[in-house]
Structures are given as C-alpha cells and as structure tokens.
C-alpha cells in the first residue's frame, strides 16, 4: 500500500513539474533568503520529529487511520481546521479579494456553507458505523468491488486536479521564498508529503495539522488586528482606502460582479463551492 502511494506521488510530482506553466506569471527566482529557509527548516524538522514519534506508536490499522481513537474532540477540531485552512483559504482567498473584491467573499461563504451540512447529515452516521474511509462506509452496504473501484477512481480524479494545484502552489511558494529552482521545490514538497502521511498515519497528520491551525489562526488574527489598528479599528476607513487603491481599474470591488457576472456562473460557482467542501 505504501509503495503504491509513493508511486502515485511520484507521478503527481512529475505532472506538477510540468504544470508549472499554469501560474508562470512574475515569479522570479529570488536571492537566497536565509531567515525564511531557517524558519522553514525549523518547521519541517519539528513536524518530521512528530512524524517519527507517531510512527513508533502506529502499529495497527486503527492506529493508522484514527490514531487509535485517542484524539480528543477539540484536538480533532483543530486538526480539521488546520487541514481546511490550506493555501486556498490563506493565500487564494486573500488574493481573490484583493483582485476581485466582493466576489472573494462569495468564495469564503461558499466554502464554509458545506461544513455545517456535512455535520448535520453525514458526521453522526459515519461515526456510528465505526469505519475509517468513505470507501469502507459505502462498501458496508453496497457491493465491495464496484464501490471500491468507483471510490478509487473518484479519489484519483480529485487528487489529480486538487493535489497538483496544491503542489504547484507550494512549489511556487518555496521557489519564491528560498530562491530554489522550481523543479527542486516541487520534488521537495512531494517528498515531505510522502514522509508525513506514509510513516506517521493519522496521529502525526493530526498533530502537524494542529500546529498548522495554531500558526495560521494566530498569524491571521495578528495580521487582521494589525491592519485594523492601522485604520484605528474603523471598518469604513479600511474599505474606503481599499476602494481608493483599486480606483484606477474602475472596478466596483464592494459589490458582486467582478468575477461572477451572469446568473448561470453565479449558481454554478455556488454549487461547486458547496460540494467542493462536502
């Protein structure tokens, strides 16, 4: 199983290397940024340490998939939050709001709305069945082989579209921060991903995500408070400044329409965002 997963990552890594053209843009190779590299190495060695610690404790399937059931509700909540606050919410939405204004807010709302619905409809039955993965649950009631094939096909389709975008993003980010070659950056990201998931299982993933959630939440809160302090905690002043900055492009960033300009695309985006979470 581990070999297959490594193989899959290798393929995806290769695709990601070639997919770099997707966001070619103005990412210039930067001068070697020592402080960023040191920060990155501290974070990576810390999280790899957790993975090593977790790998020694992971002995059964129950350990691998559910951390032996030893994760508390709060810890798990933090981990899901960390998992969820990916590059998309931290960098993507901010960028989208910067570019398109109000339409970025539509994205954040759409992402969010799927979550309560999963909680209301799926969370409890899933817990009651005591299974690990979606395929396990579906094949509990339906025929094993076809449903597992379907689940695998679905996962691979999602992973190809989603993970490659993530790896391209992460590769670009590391390229930008460290002044590394893009190809090396992507391979580095891929190798780290493999190490975290294959060896550590759910226990390591959970703790890495908890740390990530904590860092992102505190970082984003600090930035939000700092920005608001700059405007004396006056929201109208902040919005007025934003509109002033964007004025040159004669784009109305305070109302919808920058990105979704017709009814069909609005509805299609809304449904896609909601199901994207679910």
């Amino acid at each position: 199983m581990n070999m297959n997963r490594i193989f899959l990552f290798l393929i995806l890594g290769t695709v990601a290397v070639f997919a770099s053209g997707a966001i070619e843009g103005e990412v210039e190779k930067q001068a070697l940024n020592i402080s960023a590299i040191v920060m990155f190495l501290i974070f990576v060695s810390g999280t790899l340490g957790i993975t090593y610690w977790a790998a020694k404790r992971t002995k059964s399937a129950k350990d691998f998939y559910t951390a032996g059931g030893g994760i508390t509700g709060f810890q798990n909540g933090m981990a899901i939050a960390g998992d969820y606050m990916s590059a998309a919410s931290f960098l993507g939405i901010s960028g989208l709001v910067y570019l398109k204004g109000y339409d970025g807010l539509i994205y954040s709302i759409g992402f969010l709305v799927g979550w309560p619905i999963i909680l209301f409809m799926i969370a409890e039955p899933l817990r009651n069945l005591g299974k690990y993965t979606f395929a396990d649950v579906a094949s509990y009631r339906l025929k094993q082989t076809p449903i597992r094939t379907l689940a695998a096909a679905g996962s691979i389709a999602t992973v190809i579209l989603y993970l490659i975008a993530q790896m391209v993003g992460a590769g670009k980010l590391i390229q930008l921060l460290f002044g590394l070659e893009y190809e090396i950056a992507v391979v580095l990201v891929g190798v780290l991903m493999i190490l975290y998931v294959t060896f550590g299982g759910m226990l390591a993933t959970t703790w890495v995500q908890i740390i990530k959630a904590f860092l992102l939440l505190s970082g984003a809160t600090f930035m939000a408070v700092a920005v608001m302090a700059h405007f004396n905690f006056d929201f109208s002043a902040l919005f007025a400044k934003a509109v002033e900055m964007k004025n040159t492009e004669s784009l109305d960033i305070m109302s919808p329409g920058g990105l979704v300009s017709d009814p069909i695309s609005a509805i299609s985006l809304a449904v896609a965002l909601m199901f994207g979470t679910a």
Binding site: F120, F239, D252, M254, A266, I267, A270
Partner: protein
C-alpha cells in the same frame, strides 16, 4: 452484532425517538442553511446591484458586506445549536438506550 440484539434495539422506543428526532433536526438545520445560502446566491445571480447598495450615502461600505458576514455567523450559530443538542439530549438518549440493553 446478532439479529436478536439488532431487533431489540430497533424495537426500543427510546431508539425510535432518537432516530426520528435526530433525523428531523438535521433536515431542518440543513434546509435553513441552504435557504439562507441560496437566497444570497440567487440575489447575486439575478439582482447583484441590491448587494452593492451603500449602507449610507457617504459610505463606500455596501450592504453586501454585513450580509456576507451575517451568513458566516449564521453557519457558526447553526453548528453551535447542533453540537449543543447532539452532546446533550441525543447523547443522553443514546446512553439510556445502551443502559437498557445492558440490563436485559
């Protein structure tokens, strides 16, 4: 789990109460979330200028901003309501069912 035990749980009035209450509660919450969300989306789709109305004449802040934030808060509140009831009433009921099964 053997057939006899499954039947016993299925015929337990507490179990039936739990299932019906929880199902209707989940559906109600889901529908309210969807109604709020799609009202917002359909407004964007068919009447986007409604959300672009400034709050006051001298302000650049549009009515869409507080509405968007309100939807986010609404999702949090619904989650809170669900969690409170699931951890309280529903867990109590399911513990009661477990106890009564053990006793017999």
């Amino acid at each position: 789990m053997n057939k006899e035990l499954v039947d016993k749980i299925k015929n337990n009035p507490d179990y039936q109460e739990l299932v019906s209450k929880r199902t209707s509660f989940s559906i109600k919450l889901t529908i309210s979330m969807l109604v709020v969300y799609f009202t917002f989306i359909l407004t964007i789709a068919f009447n986007p200028s409604a959300l672009g109305t400034p709050i006051s004449s001298d302000s650049v802040t549009t009515i869409g901003i507080p509405i968007g934030i309100a939807i986010i808060i609404f999702a949090f509140v619904l989650t809170g309501i669900y969690t409170k009831r699931a951890n309280g009433e529903f867990d109590d009921l399911s513990n009661k069912i477990k106890e009564s099964i053990k006793e017999n």
